[in-house]
Amino acid sequence: MQTGKPKKKLHQQLRRKYMWAYIFVLPQVLYFLLASAYPIVMSYVYSFYEWDGLGPLTRFVGFSNYNELLHDEMFWNSFYNAMIYGVSATIITVVSSFLLALVLNDVNMKGKTIYRTIYFLPVVTVSSIIGIMFNNIFGIQGFANQFLQSIGWIHEPIRFWLDPVLAMIMLILVGSWKHIGVVMIYWLAGLQMIQIDLYEAAKIDGANYWKMLMRITLPLLKPVAATILLLTVGSSLHVFDLVRTLTNGGPYHHTETIELFIYEYAFATKFGGVRVGYASAAGVYLGIFVLFVSLFLGWLGMKAGSSGSSKIGKEVSKS
């Protein structure tokens, strides 16, 4: 009896499958190494040098950049602004997209596809274009002020971009509006994973909409919610193009986020030359902060995943 040949054939087939898998994954891996991993590693390297981006790295300064940043008022100002934006935009985005998803998930809702498309349109629009557009619409002589003055609601133009609080509110609202569509899709995906049987059983038991929402929907959405929170927080802490075009950090640094701060040092601007090392150190600080936030939210997600299903299990067994 010949037993070696079938095993050898299976092994070869498996190897071929793996080979194809690696070939298809290879371009993305290469891209990741060149466009992500290499810059990340090099930014750590640059952070230990005083370097203007020209010529070779010659001036090793150790932790001097990190130390200087800790005493830089503008760095802490930009960090504070980033936190205000991040927290506010996350809350508004997550809550409003959830409410929209609830509405669009209703079986009686007509024209769902159209509404989903409308809400998703800002997501596919380039952030910098949105920034320029809204900056013009809400400028002192922009459409918004002209309209409000023409209907007599205001006599003097509203300084949307010149009042620190208003400018930050506008930035948060525009940034949230931009991302609501995609987060809504995540919620919809989560809602559609919940078995309809559970709702039918609850209706038979006399549960109203509110009770079903609180006792079935929300608990079962906890794992999804944790993931959505993680993704939303991550994206709201990385806001550069919108800030650059909408407010450019103004008025007077009141909306300057940390990525804009990094940009001002990494690239030559109207204020002077370049300090790549300093900018890289700021980037490292941001990266470490985002890592800790992500780890915390990931842990929350794991806890939510286990508690959500066990809670439903208890509810089902009670009935």
């Binding site: 002192i140 204020f271 030359g273």
Partner: protein
């Protein structure tokens, strides 16, 4: 079979992607190998002296411009007519600072075009040290230096180690600010040019009355406060009669921004804004918006640079000239007491071109530069943009397209004062100046002024003092890092008289 085809297709895709990523797009010359001359040698100065004859192989030389879009149109058109085999491919970069990142990427990647207007954030010394520039001794031999305004080819500005690296375009007097006015707007409210204010008090009184007479629809003054370089120039020029030492005191070798000059100037414009003398859009406007305010009659006066006359005279995109040269005039900006005002400059030229050391078409570039040397300066006068680097008396045939050019040129001479230059004491200071540029604060008088005007800053003493302290700390750090090659005393000139042209 299917798998083999798929594998081949995948490899072709990857290979194409790698090729696309590795290709360089800057120089589009199709026949570089067929060019009769070779590219620059290691020193960047040796080249084949043959020039291409008309009818030779076609060559494209690339050029970046961050100045007024029309600056080089005439000279390029004339050159291409004379040498039809050579095309100058001009790329106009975004104005008002939008070009900075593009230049930085090109300098770092050594992918500069053949010819480019100087990038504002890199000094000629930095670029020469990096090996990015081709010297221009063949275009500007020393015996011709006398044809240009004084200091054009001074060491540290136009020349490094005795070699010329810049093609001067504008006079070093370029950058003066003045006040343009809309004649029709003035007349509509019953004023003439004789009523134009000359001092701050006069401007405030005029502005309030003007706004009332126009029913609150038209304001006296507008300018682009959001354009940082403009706001900085305005502060420097307006502060000068009050604090002649300016932002850098050559008597002490230290920066000082916390001066009566800057404080009073900023307070004056804030008052003008609060009392509706300044158009409300000013605090949200760039220089482009300011032109619109003047042309559309929303303001009577607009602060602009010596180049603004040329902008105001340009037709719109449909070719219509709604705002003709008869519709505007130009006068000095009102100063505190109606007296003189000025900005400081250190020599060199107002703007200039560089040639990339990596150019593959040096003979064609040299031909173009020689043509420009003989024809460009006349067109500078003809467009009315500014004064050229070449002495005006050597270009007698050039006639400006608007009569106001004479007044503008006169004001350019009056509003500029030559300062000492540290390079005269110590040529090694170029590296210190470059390092200072990197260490200096991400703030200047223009941004502090905008913050104060917009109401974000209530007190000027603290931010101006911080700017002073941070600037001096940056200078000290840059000097210390020079390891003794440059001293703080190199920046001190005891024979300097603030407010006068330096004669040392």
């Amino acid at each position: 079979m299917k798998k083999s085809i798929s594998l081949i297709l995948m490899l072709v895709l990857i290979f194409s992607a790698v090729l696309a990523g590795c290709s360089k797009g800057n120089n589009e010359a199709k026949n570089s190998d067929a060019s009769p001359s070779q590219s620059a040698s290691a020193t960047g100065s040796q080249s084949n002296s043959q020039t291409p004859a008309p009818g030779a192989e076609k060559v494209v030389i690339t050029m970046w411009n961050r100045l007024n879009k029309a600056t080089f149109d005439n000279v390029i058109a004339g050159f291409q007519e004379k040498y039809p085999n050579i095309t100058v491919k001009l790329e106009n970069l975004p104005e008002g600072g939008g070009d900075v990142a593009q230049y930085q990427a090109a300098v770092n990647g050594n992918e500069l075009p053949d010819i480019f207007v100087r990038p504002t954030e890199y000094s000629v010394a930095q670029l020469v040290k990096l090996g990015r520039l081709h010297d221009l001794d063949e275009v500007f031999p020393k015996e011709g230096f006398g044809d240009y305004t004084e200091g054009t080819f001074a060491e540290g500005y136009g020349s490094i180690d005795g070699k010329v690296y810049t093609f001067p375009l504008f006079s070093s007097l370029h950058g003066a600010l003045m006040m343009y006015y809309n004649k029709k707007v003035l007349e509509s409210v019953g004023y003439t040019a004789a009523d134009i204010p000359k001092s701050w008090d006069e401007l405030l009184a005029f502005g309030k009355e003007f706004n009332q007479k126009s029913g609150g629809k038209v304001y006296a003054l507008g300018f682009g406060a959001k354009t940082n370089y403009f706001a900085t120039y305005l502060m420097n020029q307006q502060a000068s009669p009050i604090t002649p030492e300016g932002q850098f005191n050559f008597l002490t070798g230290q920066y000082n921004f916390n001066t009566q000059g800057y404080i009073e100037t900023m307070q004056f414009y804030k008052k003008a804004y609060d009392e509706k003398v300044l158009h409300p859009a000013t605090i949200d406007a760039d220089t482009g918006k300011a032109y619109t305010l003047l042309k559309t009659g929303e303001v009577a006066f607009m602060m602009g640079g010596n180049w603004s006359g040329e902008y105001l005279s340009q037709p719109d995109k449909d070719g219509n000239v709604a705002f003709t040269t008869d519709d505007w005039g130009v006068v000095p900006i009102p100063s505190k007491n109606g007296g003189p005002q000025y900005q400081y400059f250190e020599g060199g030229s107002g703007e200039y071109l560089y040639v990339s050391k990596e150019t593959k078409h040096w003979p064609e570039v040299k031909l173009f530069l020689e043509y420009m040397r003989d024809n460009f300066y006349g067109s500078v006068i003809e467009t009315g943009q500014t004064m050229p680097s070449k002495k005006v008396e050597l270009i007698p045939d050039a006639k400006p397209k608007f009569a106001q050019y004479t007044d503008i040129s006169k004001m350019m001479v009056e509003f500029k004062r030559l300062t000492p230059t540290v390079y005269a004491h110590n040529p090694a200071a170029t590296s210190v100046v470059a390092q200072y540029n990197n260490y200096k604060p991400k703030e200047n008088v223009g941004s502090i002024f905008l913050g104060y005007l917009q109401g974000q800053l209530k007190d000027l003493d603290k931010p101006l003092q911080k700017l002073t302290d941070d600037s001096n700390a940056a200078l000290k750090r840059a000097i210390d890092e020079a390891g003794g090659a440059v001293k703080a005393e190199d920046f001190v000139f005891p024979d300097w008289v603030p407010g006068e042209n330096y004669k040392g």
